[in-house]
């Protein structure tokens, strides 16, 4: 029995060591990739962004605020950190990773939506975290969602199992270059889409409206984030991008949520730009669903936002 246990132990240990090789190749490959969501994470970890303005938020950041337009109007260097499908909890994680590897910005545009202070339970699009799972903050934050198992964190290569496309990409990128690119510019991607009707179904299903449950820890985290920015002398503006007007009527506690954002602005003396009632919010043709403007709408909105920043004389110029 002793011999058996020792042999099993050595077999498992040596196999785990063997797994480090494909793990290393795939991870390093993905850390070079520009496809899917790896491009932005890799740009963050490369530490070469050093933007004056950082746009933080969910998909309502990455499809709404074009750094190209901001840069050209404000003559600056901006970068969009928007993370699709996540509430503030994971947005904060991405922001802190940015701060760890890059020079801090002068201005953070924190975009908001009705669900910013909720917290989803599942790890949406978890593949984006695969090459960075060893980073302590990523590990700490991803653990708070249902997605990765214990084995994903501690057994080399295990997290890539059954992900043939990602393994392929990792190998190809390691030994060469796939040439694939997600098409985003500084984290932004305008969507050339027409109204897709998902809202119409949502509306039918929720005729009596929907109440948004707020996540108390996310509220605290927002407070922490704002106080950290204050300590680090980083200006923050809170921005509520246009939201299709009909959806606004469907959220029962919308006023309560907007008031909460206003209180944050008041507490930290921040500018809060709420575009809920902007003309854009009434134009269905500028949206592809109730929460997201299409490319045309997003570019119109970014121009308005840039002009408002200019008008209010908010400091975003680098002292660097």
């Amino acid at each position: 029995m002793k011999k058996f246990i020792i042999k099993i132990f050595f077999f498992i240990t040596s196999f785990a060591a063997f797994l480090l090789v494909p793990d290393f190749i795939i991870t390093k490959g993905l850390q070079k990739a520009k496809s899917q969501d790896y491009k932005e994470w890799n740009e963050i970890y490369s530490g070469n962004i050093d933007a004056n303005i950082v746009i933080n938020g969910s998909s309502r950041a990455w499809v709404h605020v074009s750094p190209y337009i901001l840069d050209s109007i404000l003559i600056t260097n901006s970068y969009n950190l928007g993370i699709d499908g996540y509430n503030f909890h994971m947005q904060y994680c991405k922001y802190r990773e940015y701060m760890q590897f890059n020079t801090g910005p002068e201005l953070v545009i924190q975009t908001l939506d009705i669900t910013t202070l909720q917290k989803r339970t599942d790890l949406y699009n978890l593949n984006q975290f695969l090459p960075y799972i060893y980073k302590s903050r990523i590990r700490e934050f991803t653990r708070q969602y249902k997605g990765f198992s214990f084995f994903d964190y501690y057994i080399p290569f295990y997290r890539y199992h059954n992900l043939s496309e990602i393994i392929n990409t990792g190998f190809k990128e390691f030994f060469g270059n796939t040439g694939l690119d997600n098409g985003k510019f500084k984290g932004y991607l305008g969507m050339n889409s027409e109204w897709n009707g998902t809202f119409d179904e949502y509306k039918k299903a929720n005729l009596n409206g929907v109440k948004i449950d707020l996540h108390s820890e996310s509220i605290e985290l927002m407070d922490t984030f704002l106080s950290e920015c204050k300590k680090e002398s980083i200006n923050v503006i809170l921005v509520y991008p246009p939201e299709f007007i009909e959806n606004q009527y469907l959220t029962k506690n919308r006023t309560e949520i907007i008031n909460l954002y206003s209180k944050f602005a008041e507490k930290y003396k921040l500018v809060f730009l709420d575009y809920s009632n902007n003309d854009l919010s009434y134009k269905k043709e500028l949206f592809y669903n109730s929460q997201h403007l299409n490319k045309k709408g997003a570019e119109l909105f970014t121009k308005i936002l840039a002009d408002d920043i200019k008008l209010r004389n908010i400091n975003y110029h680098s002292k660097r």
Partner: protein, 491 residues
């Protein structure tokens, strides 16, 4: 609990440790640990259905005890039928009730009678057919005094619920497994490592081969109306590989796991796709079930039929052929029904019964060497043709096994011949072809052994041997994760 799950990866090492390090000095405690582990293993699906196993255990143990004391033939028969009634009763209610009710309703509706059937809204308990047949064999063997009925309830409970083979076999005979619970198990290094190799090969078959084939099989069978004949043929071939890799993979894991606990289970598969005729196929496919049907149905039935046919021939056909044909058709039709309460399974069984009847009628009983091309790298052309022909027959059967209705199966077979072209719309990835080729090469090279990987690489130098095992393990890890059920769980 599935073998191919994280739950089992945690569960088994705990059981193994407790079994060999904590309760190893006490046989009763070891058996009790097996019972508890088995109930946890099964309860992972449904705690409610544990009561069925428990009832079955209590009834058969009590019947066995009574049979050991009873010599009166009438009373012994009553005891035997009590056990059969309860065991088959559970099976009938949970598995066949709805099927028979619906079938009767359909027949009556043909004559214009409208009946609203009272079907039951129940799910089939996992593995019910397996453990029911195992306990039935115990009672029947006790009745025939082939075995000494169990006196130790814990040992008997462990025999009925032994988790490695509880839900999908091999269907063990009491004469083989039960005595192993009476003896102290001693850890054997060679047996344990052999068990690990068998588990490794079983996982490879299930996760890498069967589950990879399953994705393509599902697409083809779910869209069979839109597929060309070539694609449909490909789908049938892939399903033949899938079902073999899936089921024999389960058996390998079950047997290997048992070996780690010091038990020897019977071989369930012996490279059936290398069979040279249909009789040989049934000696190599799901051996524990085919021998069960042989011993408890085919032989008694043949005996009963022979008593009713005193003449040497009828209609110019020798009586021995008639007996064989009738018994084969009945046995295999019931074998089909055992697999599931659907007409396509019954047809599948009937088809195999027909194959066997025709084979025996034409070829008579022709013995073939137990191991094909023994000590040779390849077989001769004649054997190869026989293997391919047998495979083709089996493949037609698998089509009816995979579809939901007989008419769907006929349609599928029809379409294979109606449009016999490969289209561009479907292709198998090159990687899968490589994997299947690797699998077949290992199976062929290891065909002399109880499982293909048993001696493969055993004499190689350690680094090469490790490389082989690491590669297999790596492939398992690479393909694992979707947690597909084993096909035979539904039976």
């Amino acid at each position: 609990m599935l073998f191919n799950s994280i739950d089992f990866a945690i569960f088994f090492p705990i059981v193994f440790t407790l079994y060999w390090f904590v309760v190893n000095r006490n046989l009763k405690m070891q058996n009790l640990l097996i019972v508890i582990s088995s109930y946890i293993f099964y309860g992972w699906w449904s705690w409610i259905f544990l009561t069925l196993i428990f009832y079955s255990t209590v009834i058969d143990f009590s019947v066995g005890m009574a049979l050991s004391k009873e010599e009166n033939i009438t009373k012994r028969k009553v005891l035997l039928w009590t056990s059969i009634f309860f065991n088959l009763g559970f099976l009938a209610v949970f598995k066949y009730y709805n099927f028979f009710i619906e079938s009767f309703t359909s027949v009556f509706s043909l004559f214009g009678a409208e009946i609203n059937p009272n079907t039951l809204d129940i799910i089939i308990p996992v593995g019910i057919s397996f453990y029911t047949f195992q306990t039935l064999s115990y009672t029947i063997d006790s009745y025939h005094k082939k075995i000494v009925p169990a006196k130790d309830f814990v040992a008997f409970s462990a025999y009925v619920s032994f988790f490695p083979q509880l839900v999908a076999g091999p269907i063990e005979r009491a004469s083989n497994l039960l005595p192993q619970f009476y003896k102290k198990r001693v850890f054997e290094y060679a047996k344990a490592t052999d068990g690990l190799r068998q588990i490794l090969w079983g996982f490879f078959k299930k996760i890498v081969i069967a589950d990879s084939c399953a994705k393509h099989v599902d697409i083809i069978f779910n869209n069979s109306g839109q597929c060309s004949g070539g694609t449909l043929m490909l789908g049938a071939i892939l399903f033949s590989i899938q079902i073999y890799a899936d089921f024999s993979g389960y058996s390998d894991i079950a047997i290997g796991t048992s070996r780690l606990l010091g038990f020897n289970l019977m071989q369930n598969f012996a490279f059936p796709y290398f069979s040279r005729n249909i009789v040989e196929f049934w000696r190599r496919w799901h051996i524990s079930l085919s021998t069960w049907f042989r011993d408890y149905l085919f032989i008694p039935l043949s005996y009963n039929v022979s008593r009713r046919l005193p003449k040497k021939s009828y209609f110019g056909i020798k009586t021995e052929y008639i007996i064989y044909i009738v018994s084969s058709l009945v046995t295999f039709t019931l074998c089909g029904l055992w697999h599931g309460a659907r007409w396509n399974y019954i047809f599948w069984g009937f088809l195999h019964g027909t194959y066997l009847s025709i084979y025996i009628f034409i070829k008579k009983r022709k013995k073939v060497a137990k191991i094909i091309a023994e000590n040779k790298l390849f077989t001769n052309l004649k054997n190869l043709c026989n293997i391919l022909f047998t495979f083709l027959l089996v493949l037609v059967g698998w089509i009816f096994f995979r579809v939901s209705t007989i008419s769907e199966g006929i349609h599928y077979v029809n379409n294979i011949f109606n449009n016999n072209e490969f289209t561009q719309s479907f292709f198998i990835p090159f990687g899968l072809i490589l994997l299947i080729s690797f699998f077949m090469v290992i199976e062929w090279s290891g065909r002399k052994n109880a499982f293909a990987l048993k001696n493969t690489g055993i004499r190689w130098r350690k680094p090469f041997r490790l490389a082989l095992y690491f590669s297999i393990l790596f492939l398992i890890l690479l393909f694992g994760g979707e947690r597909q059920n084993f096909i035979y769980f539904q039976f």
